[in-house]
């Protein structure tokens, strides 16, 4: 159970948020041009790391904005939150 920093609202209780899995998986620019394997990777394959994980969260019971969370999957520590469209931060500062 955490206090999570929404990039728009600031620190709020975890119960206001929900998690939507791995982030930085872009929808193929032109889906018709990718083969089945590439399309399958977009649809089904996720990294599921032990350690740093980048994921998408929403502030459902707040501003309803989607944003990114950099979280450690072993300690559950939330290292960073940042807005959609911002580039993926480095892995190093654990």
């Amino acid at each position: 159970m955490f206090v999570i920093k929404c990039p728009y609202c600031g620190e709020r209780d975890q119960t206001e948020f929900s998690c939507h899995g791995e982030s930085h998986i872009a929808r193929p620019e032109n889906p018709n041009e990718v083969n089945d394997k590439e399309w399958g990777e977009y649809l089904f394959f996720r990294s599921n790391p032990k350690g740093i994980h980048y994921e998408r969260w929403t502030h459902d019971h707040g501003c309803r904005q989607w944003f990114n969370v950099k979280r450690h999957t072993v300690t559950d520590k939330i290292i960073q939150t940042y807005t959609m469209g911002e580039s993926k931060p480095e892995d190093n500062n654990v």
Binding site: R27, N32, D36, W39, Q65
Partner: protein
């Protein structure tokens, strides 16, 4: 009524405020400030209840929340509470308590026969004995559960109110003994926001009962002064009667505050309990330690008590629980209690397990005329309802046998002190790691989690001065971590106790007159009636791991979670397994730390607040007109409106025919509605829906399917273009929130540059759907506008006034009839509904519910997403290729239509089914087979998704998902029913009625 064991002076009780209370029907007197335990002891009542399994008489063992024995049933009827610890119940006028697990009374209990048979009732007895036949366990269990047990759960609804509170702070201190108070004061003076909680009504902890000195003051005075400063500070919250019950990740702590439990007739506006959900940046645990019982034969009789508990009863409550006291110990600290008791006029004999005691102790005993037996042990106790004598014997040097003769001495109170166990339960819950400490023979915190401190005896530190200095530093450091760095004075200079606790000699159990392995009564877990011999049995039978021993013997599994028993059980295991206690390990501590009411956990989320109900503006009308309701998500929707005691079938038939032949009305307000605006709205809809939206004219409506990226249908609805860049989307009633999130997801994560704004307007509009051949006439009578087929054709919307109210009228149809969906602002919903009903009288307007809606749409073969689909159907599977654009470059789901699995033949397709007997209504969910066997398994080729009797057609209709269904029209399939019958049905198109759509279009 006179308190036989009450001292003339001393303690925190108010002798000017007597309180009457009842125990087992008898009236007793206590004083304000008493607990039920102290008041009963003052009245010389030691027999409180009967034990869980053997129904042995039990008394009061401790003075706090760790109490395993003195559990009572509190209050009556709807407010009754089982397993309340007498040591924690504050006395109030009119309190009623009774003993548990005894019949007919605590003094003469029939269940006590179990005690005689205890030789054949060892651990695992029930599982071993009642194994055969396996099916009979349910039968045996009923009687076993009746015989064993604690209190009774209330049978009525509890009338009390419970509240929850969320709380955030810099530093939370758990426990307000002198260490907790020191840490809290240090953190507070440094500038941090501090919360300090303590389970007792009076803060100060164990030193309230001691002769300790802090800064050359009596500890009691120092506590008073410190508390008064903490209470005066605006950055400090002080909560007494509050127990931290759970410690979760990242310093999330739950705490249970008793608000009015201790007040008679709590008619106050305050809740009974308040459940705190606390997130603290730093946590300081200062919970202290529990005194450890000694394990010897008959150590469970009433009149046997922890030494520290006696100290508390004497000093805090002015109760001397016995006059001829024996004290059985293995450490120096317990001698403090002997001195205290003597000073109050008692006679004390000390039996010390140790061969040598310090000169200081010897001197103390001489000064106070304490009779001592060194290197002796209590081997048995005597007395039926209360201890009246004990037998002791001298131990050999290795403590493994006896030398010398057994001596029996009379006593009316036996105190025991086996050392101290730090209260590491919360620390362990937080995932902190423990280690075994040989000095104190117990587990202490080893590896801490982030942002956490453990101080004082809770950390295994029994030196008062050092503990207080550690606490001061912990407070300063915790405050600093949260950015509060005010320099403060070191306010602890001097502190000492009369007798410090240093070490305790480990003797896992004391031999008795018969071997421990032969059903002797060396109790370890008093609450679950687990003895040393049960531990031996578990080891013999291979339940060697600590987790196995726990489950096999149930040690530590009662409501006290083994606060007094765990370490002793481990010590015996270590003795048997011949390895150090640290290697035996310990079981995992889990919340709650003390039993916690469900009421407090639920808080206000009960009854109508458990799951919110959503009601339309017309709800009251539906209720007044006898609607039977159906839950659709959180919505309450009319299911059907029975008239004159009709059954459901007759009501639905009547409603269906009215809608087909005259006019019916449906409250469709629950339909999801999303207002979509912005210059890129059309482009956005093109990507969200499978069909094309660019050319939709203003005022035109279009049906659309939404697919997920896997190409599977997940919602449908009609969207209407209201203006140049303005659309009104409708969704299924249950899918509204999901669709809204879906739209937001793509706008915020994929197409960030699109200028589109979505707003949920479901509850802003009341939707009256009137349908049937007379619906146009009816609507025409309520508006001045021309609404003929040219001015308001099928799949068009017009903003017109209806009953004088600005409305949007949509010509869309979910029933296949001529139909108008009248949308008015919700605040006019009921007004317009009433007007429509009034004007509709001449057409015999008939309100209809969701069941009729379902039948009417099934007759037309319209799908319901989520009923006819299950997340694995593509538009093509539903014969809806016509709605999938071939021209559009891209839309959600498109790419997946050409995946091999989605594109293959022989998928399940939507079909209609007509039963050949023309009368069986197939149960929804029935399986379809090509060949019927006598019994399962059979090869499935599909399942029924919708099935009704069609009043319009006069025979049953069904929709189904059938393998290769598209190519099987005309074939006969079989549907085996649960009763063994097999029904034949013919595969058809899924549109059963008015295939051309003439009725809805004209």
């Amino acid at each position: 009524m006179f308190n036989r064991n009450r001292l003339i002076s001393g303690g925190s009780i108010d002798r000017n405020k007597p309180i009457n209370f009842k125990f087992n029907g008898q009236t007793f007197k206590g004083y304000e400030g008493d607990t039920l335990a102290s008041a009963l002891l003052a009245n010389d009542v030691h027999l409180i209840g009967r034990s869980f399994k053997y129904h042995r008489p039990r008394g009061i063992l401790t003075s706090g929340s760790e109490e395993p024995n003195a559990l009572v049933q509190l209050n009556k009827e709807s407010r009754t509470e089982p397993n309340a610890r007498a040591t924690e119940i504050e006395l109030y006028e009119g309190l009623e308590a009774s003993s548990q697990n005894c019949w007919p009374s605590v003094k003469y209990d029939i269940g006590a026969l179990n005690n005689l048979f205890s030789r054949i009732l060892p651990a695992g007895f029930y599982y071993k004995t009642f194994m055969w036949p396996p099916s009979a366990w349910m039968f045996y269990e009923y009687f076993i559960r009746r015989a064993a047990g604690l209190g009774e759960a209330p049978k009525e609804k509890n009338p009390d109110r419970y509240e929850q509170k969320f709380f955030y702070c810099d530093v939370m201190v758990v426990g307000a003994g002198v260490t907790g108070l020191t840490a809290a004061l240090a953190a507070a003076r440094s500038g941090a926001n501090v919360l300090i909680v303590d389970e007792k009504p009076e803060m100060g902890g164990y030193l309230l009962s001691s002769k300790a000195k802090i800064n050359n003051m009596d500890a009691k005075e120092w506590i008073k002064e410190t508390l008064s400063e903490l209470n005066s500070l605006s950055n400090v919250t002080v909560l007494n009667r509050t127990t931290a019950t759970g410690y979760y990740d990242y310093n999330y702590i739950t705490a249970l505050q008793k608000v009015t439990n201790h007040i008679e007739n709590s008619n106050s506006k305050l809740p009974r309990e308040r459940f705190w959900r606390i997130r603290s940046k730093e946590v300081i645990l200062a919970q202290g330690a529990f005194e450890r019982p000694l394990v010897f034969s008959g150590n469970d009789r009433p009149g046997i008590m922890m030494a520290s508990a006696a100290q508390v009863f004497i000093s805090q409550y002015g109760v001397l629980p016995g006059n001829s006291i024996t004290l059985f110990t293995n450490n120096d600290h317990a001698y403090t209690v002997a001195v205290e008791a003597i000073s109050k006029g008692a006679k004390v004999v000390v039996i010390d397990l140790r061969s040598n005691v310090s000169n200081e102790i010897t001197k103390l005993c001489e000064q106070n005329k304490i009779e001592t037996y060194n290197s002796h042990a209590v081997t048995s106790t005597h007395g039926s309802k209360k201890v009246n004598a004990i037998t002791l014997q001298e131990l050999s040097n290795d403590k493994q046998s006896f030398v010398g003769d057994a001596v029996t001495i009379n006593t009316d109170l036996l105190l025991m002190s086996g050392g101290w166990n730090p209260a590491v339960q919360l620390f362990s819950q937080s995932r902190g790691k423990l280690k075994y400490d040989d000095q104190i023979s117990s587990f202490i915190p080893d590896v801490l989690v982030d942002n956490q401190y453990v101080i004082g005896t809770n950390n295994g530190n029994f030196n008062l001065k050092q503990s207080l200095i550690d606490s001061l530093n912990a407070g300063i450091s915790a405050a600093k971590e949260t950015g509060n760095k005010k320099d403060i004075e070191e306010f602890i200079s001097e502190a000492s106790e009369p007798q410090e606790f240093t070490t305790s000699e480990v003797v896992p159990y004391v031999l008795g007159s018969k071997p421990v392995t032969h059903g002797s009564k060396h109790f370890i877990d008093f609450q679950n009636d687990v003895t040393a011999s049960d531990i031996f049995l578990a080891q013999r039978e291979g339940y060697i791991s600590v987790e196995h021993t726990k489950r096999y013997t149930t040690t530590g599994m009662a409501t006290d979670q083994g606060k007094t028993s765990n370490v002793n059980a481990l010590a015996i295991m270590s003795h048997i397994q011949k390895k150090p206690v640290g290697e035996v390990g310990h079981t995992t501590f889990r919340p709650p730390y003390v039993p916690q009411t469900f009421g407090a956990m639920a808080g206000r989320n009960v009854d109508q607040f458990f799951d919110p109900q959503r009601l339309t503006a017309v709800h009251q009308w539906h209720k007044d007109n006898g609607a039977v309701f159906e839950d659709v998500g959180q919505w309450k929707r009319p299911y059907f409106y029975p008239k004159n005691k009709e059954n459901m079938k007759d009501a639905v038939n009547r409603e269906c025919l009215a809608a087909r032949n005259s006019v019916g009305i449906l409250d469709a307000s629950t339909l999801g509605k999303i207002d979509i605006q912005g210059p890129d709205a059309a482009k956005f809809l093109n990507l969200i829906y499978t069909n094309a939206w660019s050319k939709l004219e203003i005022g035109a409506c279009r049906y659309g399917l939404m697919c997920n990226e896997h190409g599977m249908v997940f919602d449908d609805g009609v969207t209407t273009r209201i203006g140049e860049n303005h659309y009104h989307m409708t969704t299924t009633s249950g899918g509204a929130a999901r669709v809204m999130s879906w739209l937001e997801e793509f706008l915020q994560t994929e197409w960030l540059d699109m200028k589109v704004y979505c707003t949920s307007v479901t509850e802003q509009w009341t939707v009256l759907s009137i349908c049937g051949p007379k619906s146009r006439e009816l609507l025409a009578s309520l508006t001045d506008e021309n609404i003929d087929n040219t001015n308001l054709p099928y799949m068009r919307m017009r903003p017109i006034k209806v009953c004088g109210i600005e409305a949007r009228v949509f010509r869309i149809s979910f029933t296949g009839e001529l139909s108008f969906e009248i949308n008015v602002p919700a605040r006019y919903g009921k007004f317009v509904w009433d007007k429509v009903m009034e004007a509709g009288k001449q057409y015999k307007i008939t309100p209809y519910g969701t069941e009729t809606m379902h039948v009417l749409r099934a007759e037309k073969g319209f799908i319901i997403v989520g009923q006819d689909t299950d997340g694995s159907a593509t538009p093509s599977d539903l014969n809806m290729d016509w709605i999938v654009s071939k021209k559009k470059e891209d839309f959600l789901g498109k790419r997946s239509f050409v995946r091999s699995d989605t594109a293959r033949e022989n998928r399940k397709h939507l079909v209609g089914l007509l039963v050949n007997d023309k009368k069986t209504v197939l149960p929804e969910g029935s399986h379809i087979v090509d060949e019927a066997n006598k019994k399962p398994p059979m090869k499935m080729s599909g399942h029924i998704t919708s099935s009704y009797h069609s009043p319009t057609l006069g025979y049953p209709i069904a929709m189904a998902m059938l393998k290769n269904g598209k190519n099987r029209h005309g074939e006969i399939v079989l549907i085996p029913l649960m009763n063994g019958k097999v029904i034949e049905a013919t595969v058809t198109d899924s549109v059963f009625y008015d295939k051309e759509g003439a009725r809805q279009n004209d």
